[in-house]
Symmetry: D4
Subunit: 155 residues, 8 copies
């Protein structure tokens, strides 16, 4: 009934292929979505600030300049998203992912979490603010298919 292009921001883990799996999933189904996300080249994301604006002796400010620059992209794209998907992988602290979820919550943008069961208890506050919790990229694709087009998996 509608021709709206839905914008989906993919936040979080950058060490597995979950973004690619969602990308190919929505493509196969022909869903009218535009997928956005942070810069996912780890080293560039760390060093962008000093590479562009000049070196810092202090590692803290090295990181700071990069993180601020990345924030321009992430905050702008999250604020424009219809839905945010927040992925927590098996490893690492991933505090930026939880930060993005909190940001989306306060900005009234619905978000879906994507994480293994082992994180359920530690993520209960983050999940409580979510509209859904998924285990697999496939479920994300199916959720988008339903939200946007009303397509539902065969039961």
């Amino acid at each position: 009934m509608t021709q709206k292009i839905w914008t989906i921001y993919l936040s979080g883990e950058i060490h597995s292929d979950w973004r690619e799996r969602i990308t190919s999933g929505v493509s196969e189904r022909g869903l009218p979505v535009e997928l956005t996300g942070p810069i996912t080249v780890h080293e560039d994301s760390d060093d962008c600030g000093v590479a562009i604006f000049g070196a810092e002796e202090n590692k803290y400010w090295h990181d700071h300049k990069g993180a601020l620059l990345n924030s321009v992209r992430t905050r702008t794209l999250i604020a424009e998203a219809d839905i945010v998907v927040v992925r927590f992988g098996e490893k690492y602290k991933q505090w930026n992912a939880a930060f993005d979820a909190g940001f989306a919550a306060a900005a009234d943008i619905p978000y879906i979490t994507l994480h293994p069961a082992e994180h359920d208890h530690a993520l209960k506050e983050v999940d409580a603010g979510a509209v859904a919790m998924a285990r697999t990229p496939q479920q994300i694709v199916e959720a988008l298919g339903y939200i946007i087009c009303g397509k539902i998996p065969v039961r």
Copy 2:
């Protein structure tokens, strides 16, 4: 004078053909509108949560997962609408329709109610916040024709 496409969200009852009648009415008149609305396949709307994210033993959480998923669509599309039409049919509680009206009111989106006279007293708070109350889909189409193009029915 303007080329704006008006977005009209059609909320409420899913058991009669009122959406179709509005759709054909605006089409006949060539009104520049895009009609949006919830997923109207009743069973899918009830079961979408468990169909996608896994079964729940407890019926409450079964419903909860589905309702949260549907809310992504409904809240997003209501927030983007220029006008919301809220239809109350003869039967059922239809609390979701009244919820949508309250949501539109707080979000400062004008809404028009559409209901039979027998509900007038029970809907007086909902009607009080509306910009108009209609009895028939035909009146909705005429109202859109006037608001958007200044066309008025022959008197």
Copy 3:
């Protein structure tokens, strides 16, 4: 740790003593709350518009004038509330209660529903936006005791 007075708006059903039970419950526990709500004298709530501003021959406008006047109180007090409790009784349409829930949802005010199990399915969209669903006024009092003071019932 804090001296904040929490404002709790009690929306919905006016035919049972649930407001009184919450009032005495929070009083017994000495919770720092201020309870607000609509005018609950049914006849006055219906007739206030014409009683003050003059009679209407048409019942629709009779109701309309009253509902608009009531909306000044209800919208103002809901907007100022920290928490809204929305009660659905066994009978009647109670669309104003669902409207208030939708209004609170869009205004980002957390709300708790209070209703019997028989309404669970029909209220699933309203419950999906709530921070909790309660069966008894006693549970509302306990929830307030925990949220505000960290008091928890003996397990």
Copy 4:
């Protein structure tokens, strides 16, 4: 020059005495602050939902009900705070702390992080949005003394 009472929300770790140290520090200096924060009794915070609204067989919903109830307190008090302090301890995932920081960021509430140097790199996105990063509760107290009263440590 001003009699404003500043509200400071203390978010994050609940396993060390940092809240007490800030509380006694601001008390010693007589700073006009009101300190707020989440319920810090770990077990109650986990079980509040089921203790009040009834048991859940599924651990996910057990956690969910509790986390939603806690969110009423945390979101309300964060939204009312002038400054949020977000503490990350040595251990655990502490995703709720990062979530609170993101929430404060989107709600335009200034926040100060408090964490050991070992977390600097992992917290760079969270620190980038902060107005300051502290290593000790004493520094938080001194920062509040300066912000509110212009008191500065002897140099």
Copy 5:
């Protein structure tokens, strides 16, 4: 049930005693209201700008400086009001009153109009956005008595 002090801004006509009549009316009934409004000394309101900041040769800028200074008071107090009463007298253009009504409408502050029947047609757009239209100051007082305390005139 509540101790809230309601703030009522009285906008518009400054040539009759309607403000005094509302003031004594709410006082007699002991309503918990605080009445605010513009500076009503006509000459001071016209000349305040030049009296304070220096004379202007051009009458347009003479008026402009005064009107801007008055706007600090009027906009601040309207924005803080719970309810705005907008009075249109028999004479004069009174465009500032209609301006205040439009301002309140966009700021989502409920307003009640107060005017004689002869203005009904010319004020239909202003009345359409109001929560009530009154003919007499007495009706305003009664409306406040009902909204705030649930008191209704004897029928």
Copy 6:
């Protein structure tokens, strides 16, 4: 440097050809603007409510239904405008024009007034909130040419 289409809402008087003069002026200069405005057929604007939703015996409600319906168009288009032009003609009360100006002011949309010198004093509050005051449609066209394209009349 930019391809933005500026949206200009033309509010107020409907008895002279000022809208046409602005329309042809911006057309001659090829300004990238879209002009919007209310329905300007006086009789339709008065009667649209009853023509669509049914007759009212009471003239007040006759007007009310029409004014509410018109408000959907006017509020929506004003809220979407980059600039509002508010025209006051020589005659009539024109309270709706002042209402629109107040609405634009509170919604932070810049507006330009357009009126003869005889109204200067009575419109001083409305002019005080404006970004400019014009005497002729030609000046409006020139102002748009400057704001949008930096074109300035020969001095």
Copy 7:
């Protein structure tokens, strides 16, 4: 008619006694105002960041830490002010004063500028957004006396 305490933020120059003159002026007249402002001890304002959180080798980050800490006070107090007074002295760049004016403008807080005539042209954009431009602290006091109490200087 009102008991409101007006909050006035005094931004800008810290090298003359203009704040003291306003303070004694409002005190003499007994105006119900609370005056707020930045920390005005120049050296502390420069060094607060490193004095509290530790030294920086790089002067840029030395300044940065201090400026961010000061921003907590200035943004919080500006956001809470009813009126901001922005003072530009004869010397220095004073970019922070112009920054505060821009901040107030976007936050819809009325501001009054206070500066000598020599700056008129360079400050024309800042003055254009102000509700008044004053030459002396005495004029600020008189403006507050009029805005708040309707007192006007003898003409």
Copy 8:
């Protein structure tokens, strides 16, 4: 991954070719950006108000009319920008640039400053609110290349 066109507002100094250097830089790299900014013809910017709306004897009002007219363009385009670049040259007061930075800060639009090292201390409050500080237009182009496309200069 995204086809978003980023809008970049270039604020500040109009005496050097920094805008042209950014324009050609983003063009060479094919970045999907739209560059906007104020009218940069100095004389027109000063005189636009009187050229269009009529002469003023008083220089203050001459400037005022022009500055208000320019503000329509600058505020509208800043509010629509994804990123604001604020340039401070070697000379002049440039208070309008600092004003724009403060405006962007309060409107939650990320801004990057561009200035020589000699201004570092005087601009510390303005830099503290920025997401980056650049020394050359080339760095601005590289920052945009990274933010938008993830392109990073060779290290």
